[in-house]
């Protein structure tokens, strides 16, 4: 009996000790930003042994909500925070601060067996709103178009809806997937599928990326603004981000996404060393 109670006491102490782990951060949000964050976090944790950072990516909307609710100090988002989200955050005492970490272009992808090479913005809009349902209407082999989209928690989805669909509703028969990876996987397995992913995912096996209005998505065309569907990738924190967190990554603080595309390339070069390299490693455009 004495040994049993001693063992129980020991287990309880161990169990309670586990909750006193110092320095744990949970980063939540966009699946597009996830590859960059993973590299940055690995580098950061290699330099700072006492900190444990976990990344949970399920969509920019989830990241925004987690920041507002306080369940994460750092939200990854592939779109800007909406006015309604900023208002909710302020009501809860959270002051969202935006940090641009990279630029990305959303690339439409089709199965590698599909002969189509280019689509105009108008054609993309018609496909995604359901006006065009057969590949022969846009220059491919006859067959039904299988429309793959992200679900509503995704920043990629919101951005696509605003800039390609011009705020019209997505076709009801579009198959909603939960992440960039899932879209890539589904498109690579269905011959008549079309989907849209961040640039880092467009080179997955089984996919073929399309040019939009004749412009191919790449680091160069994103930075000089010629690719029509490009956007920034953001981190949002509550208030001023502490300097210490940025040390290994040296994240560059930019207050506002410039409206005019041409200004994007003109940002004064300030060296986000590790971050810049990682962005390029993963396949995104480096923040200048």
């Amino acid at each position: 009996m004495k040994r049993l109670s001693l063992a129980l006491a020991a287990m309880m102490v161990l169990g309670l000790a586990a909750t006193s782990f110092a320095g744990e951060i949970a980063v939540k949000g966009s699946t597009t930003v996830q590859p960059i964050m993973q590299k940055a976090v690995e580098a950061f944790m290699a330099q700072h042994k006492g900190v444990s950072i976990s990344i949970s990516a399920s969509g920019s909307g989830d990241g925004a909500k987690a920041l507002i609710d306080g369940s994460t100090p750092l939200a990854m988002m592939s779109r800007e925070m909406k006015e309604s989200e900023i208002k909710q955050a302020k009501e809860k005492g959270v002051n969202p601060k935006q940090i641009v970490i990279a630029y990305d272009c959303i690339t439409p992808v089709v199965n590698s067996a599909n002969p189509v090479k280019n689509l105009t913005m108008a054609q993309l809009k018609d496909i995604y709103t359901g006006k065009v349902t057969d590949w022969k209407e846009v220059g491919g082999a006859a067959g039904p178009i299988s429309v793959i989209s992200r679900d509503s928690s995704s920043g990629t989805f919101e951005y696509w809806g605003e800039h390609v669909l011009k705020k019209e509703r997505v076709y009801a028969r579009a198959q909603m997937q939960a992440s960039n990876g899932a879209v890539a996987q589904v498109v690579s397995k269905q011959k008549g599928a079309i989907g849209y992913v961040g640039l880092a995912y467009a080179k997955a096996p089984g996919l073929k990326d399309l040019t939009v209005d004749g412009v191919a998505g790449s680091i160069a065309t994103t930075l000089n603004g010629t690719y029509p569907v490009s956007r920034g990738l953001y981190l949002y924190t509550n208030g001023r981000a502490h300097r210490r967190r940025g040390q290994a990554c040296r994240v560059h603080h930019v207050p506002r996404w410039p409206e005019d595309r041409r200004l994007r390339g003109l940002h004064p070069p300030q060296e986000p060393e590790v971050h810049c390299q990682e962005g390029q490693e993963v396949g995104y455009s480096p923040h200048p």
């Binding site: 399920s58 969509g59 909307g61 989830d62 925004a64 909500k65 507002i68 609710d69 909406k82 309604s84 989200e85 909710q88 067959g143 039904p144 299988s146 679900d151 509503s152 928690s153 705020k167 509703r169 009801a172 028969r173 579009a174 198959q175 909603m176 997937q177 939960a178 996987q185 589904v186 397995k189 269905q190 011959k191 008549g192």
Partner: protein, 296 residues
């Protein structure tokens, strides 16, 4: 401690645990209704249950019609039941009546192991292996569809149905079977006309349990059913059952927003449907109840 006090105390402890379970269920129900009822302040009940457009995040004109979701859940459950019930009941009959004890000792645990497969594993299998196979084999454009989801859900329901049915059939008293055989009936005739009708209440319960499992299953339909919120019009078209919608959208719905309340309203509908199933199961099991030695 006095013996009588000890007895009374133990009775109270058991009563306490039973009440805890009831209380948890009641609290879940209350919470569900509390969070779901505000939905009907911004959408009418008729509009909610019969509306055809589910666009809750459209900022300009949000729409909260869940008929496609209800239709998808119904279709997926019906189809998976059509697949799972014959398979499950006939496996049960085989195990209880026809297999010799050595075969039974191997096959029964294997069927029950199928029940312990995590649903995400089945979803993954359906997404990565079954979907391309269906596309190539049947020549359909989309592999993530109603049929795929129904097939995976049938795999999940078969062990439940088989296990409970087998127990029900096994519990039929030997006197009934022996009397029938003594009067000259063959094994098959006994099975069909005596044993199975005697076990009907247990089999009915098993079937309803299997169907409840299928309608509430989330992970499989999230990964495999396709995700298109349209009324199911083809066996091989993508659909979006209710649990898949809730799982996909709950994480981003801001706390106590319209979207949040609408999702809870869907959960309410799901809860009421499952409750209905259980009531029916109870009714069937009482109606065909065998008085006497067959007691399942």
């Amino acid at each position: 401690m006095h013996r009588r006090t000890k007895e009374a105390l133990i009775k109270q402890v058991f009563l306490g645990t039973a009440i805890t379970s009831l209380a948890v269920l009641a609290l879940i129900m209350v919470f569900l209704f509390m969070e779901g009822m505000p939905t009907f302040s911004f959408v009418s009940v008729k509009g909610f249950l019969t509306g055809l457009d589910w666009y809750p995040t459209d900022e300009a004109r949000p729409d909260y019609g869940i008929l496609p979701l209800i239709g998808a859940s119904g279709a997926v459950t019906a189809l998976s039941s059509v697949l799972a019930i014959p398979l499950g009941v006939m496996s049960a009959v085989y195990l209880a009546e026809i297999a010799n004890p050595r075969v039974r000792a191997v096959v029964k645990p294997v069927i029950e192991m199928l029940a312990s497969l995590p649903s995400v594993v089945l979803g993954f299998f359906g997404m990565v292996v079954l979907a391309p196979f269906l596309q190539d084999f049947l020549g359909i454009p989309v592999g993530l569809n109603l049929f795929n989801a129904a097939l995976m859900l049938a795999f999940m329901s078969v062990p439940t149905i088989a296990s409970v049915s087998e127990d029900a059939i096994y519990a039929v008293p030997r006197e009934l079977k022996e009397a029938s055989l003594a009067l000259g009936a063959t094994h098959l005739e006994t099975l069909v006309r005596v044993t199975i009708p005697a076990a009907l209440s247990g089999i009915g319960t098993a079937v309803i349990l299997g169907m409840s499992r299928a309608i509430g299953e989330t992970m499989v339909v999230l990964m495999v059913a396709g995700g298109a919120a349209v009324l199911p019009d083809s066996l091989f078209g993508p659909v979006r059952p209710m649990p898949a919608s809730i799982a996909a959208e709950m994480a981003e719905a801001p706390f106590r927003s319209n979207h949040y309340h609408a999702l809870f309203a869907i959960a309410m509908v799901l809860f009421l449907v499952t409750l209905g199933f259980n009531v029916i199961a109870d009714y069937i099991s009482h109606k065909h109840r065998q008085v006497g030695s067959a007691s399942l």
